[in-house]
Symmetry: C2
Subunit: 294 residues, 2 copies
């Protein structure tokens, strides 16, 4: 008997598909995921996508309401420590709830993959504070000023990137990324040394931003190390993101900055602004710039 | 028979005493600590001191050399998620090693205290990447510029702080803190609203800075929320610090900034500069500004 194929009337976006998790029956807090070939960057799966997968599993765990307390579906602060590079294929996310609070809840999670020898290897370990941005992002005051960028059609898109860059970056096919040409000197062998890369970002398939997508956005641009004249991928050791508000639909603006390199490590700060000019996410990562192995 | 008291010829500094940990016999990775009355701030023990206690335990665990790999005694990146306020009294730190690497190692730790009902309550959960700064902090390049401050004797010391501030801040007796008078309007009821507090910092007993002390330094100043006109202590939900170099002896300069408050939460960024003008630590925390409980 042939299975009936149900025509999917609401297509799942690439991001929702790529970061999907499925609760494993009979194992509390355990989720199955699949890391797709389409999210590669450099030597592995993009760190922002890995964070989104884990962030979604924590959202499932911490977002559930019960009689006693409201659900906390959104990451307010989330820290990922990257242990080994994620590779395309099945993955398991194990979550645990550290604390259910009135205003916020805390969780921990670990993403592991099979190591090919019957065991498993951990890719990243995560701690997070979750809350409900729907109850808290109306009132905001800031002294921060949105970045000035040329309009998207005057910026540099991924199609114009050098082939050796695109070759290891299937991630870029998921994104509509337009970089300010003032910050793309690295692409033509003339990095400015300023330590700034900024650009417009939206998903290629039109998927609108939400708090979970911001976890991808903070790590989706080329490494700011490129514009410091440091070629080669800069593996992330640690990344912490704060989501400060639910983004409005439309383009995001992302600004990466780095000021200090010391002992082969540099920090990369990301600010993400929504189409209404609000600072919706902040992140900082510590990355290794120089040495190929750690 | 009276016990013989051994005269201590090398006095232990207040910080080393306050952050001391002692490996518990027979339990791998478990350390005993005691949180002192002298590190109170607001409603509990200072979050930077708590981080220093955990940071020291992780330094013991990850700093050990073995035949295969070098020791990694210094925190390069450390993230703390604060669950409940620490109180003076005994504490237990449980550590686990996530990964021993060639250049860096990763650990996790939890600080717990007795809950008074026969159980225990977790104060903070920590993830960290440790390395050896002695092998890596010689070469540094930066575009960051050290802050300009009036000399320490023209700054405002803790003795000049309002009594209601000092009352709940025994921590300040451990510190020699001199705040730039341009950033202390809050102390006389006239916060600037600029979201900046900066000052000189050293330990009152002369203890020189090292990587561990920087974990205290990033959270030792009055909350930047004060200068935003938000009185009341701002409990930390999450704090991540990057230690970028071993600090030189002498005064540290610390700059706190905050730009955005949203839904009652604000970020507080700290930069710590050493006496040679090097940016030795960066941190960011997410704090709750408005509501007294969470």
């Amino acid at each position: 008997m042939a299975a009936v194929r149900v025509r999917q009337t609401v297509p799942v976006s690439e991001f929702d598909d790529g970061s999907a998790v499925s609760a494993r029956a009979g194992e509390v807090g355990v989720y199955d995921a699949g890391l797709g070939e389409g999210w590669r960057i450099g030597g592995g799966v993009n760190g922002g996508l890995l964070l989104s997968v884990v962030g979604r599993a924590l959202s499932e765990e911490l977002g559930r309401e019960d009689g006693e307390r409201p659900g906390h579906p959104h990451p307010l602060a989330i820290s990922a420590y990257y242990l080994t590079p994620g590779v395309p294929g099945p993955a398991t996310v194990r979550t645990s709830v550290l604390r259910h609070g009135r205003a916020v809840s805390n969780g921990q999670a670990s993403l592991v993959q099979e190591d090919g020898a019957g065991g498993e290897v951990e890719r990243l370990r995560v701690l997070a504070t979750y809350g409900d941005l729907a109850t808290m992002d109306q009132d905001a005051t800031t002294t921060a000023v949105p970045p000035e960028l040329p309009p998207p059609d005057r910026c540099v898109s991924a199609e114009q990137a050098p082939p050796q860059f695109l070759k290891h970056a299937s991630l870029l096919e998921r994104l509509d990324l337009r970089l300010d040409p003032a910050t793309t000197g690295w692409a033509v062998g003339k990095p400015s040394g300023n330590g700034v890369i900024r650009g417009w970002l939206r998903m290629a398939d039109g998927r609108e931003p939400d708090p979970l997508l911001l976890l991808l956005a903070v790590d989706a641009l080329p490494p700011v190390a490129f514009e410091l004249g440091l070629p080669g991928w800069a593996p992330t050791l640690e990344l912490t993101a704060h989501v400060r508000a639910r983004p409005a639909p439309g383009w995001l603006r992302v600004v990466l900055t780095s000021r200090t390199m010391s002992g082969g490590y540099l920090e990369e700060d990301a600010e993400v602004w929504d189409s209404e000019g609000r600072l919706v996410a902040l992140s900082r990562q510590l990355a290794r710039a120089a040495t190929p192995r750690r």
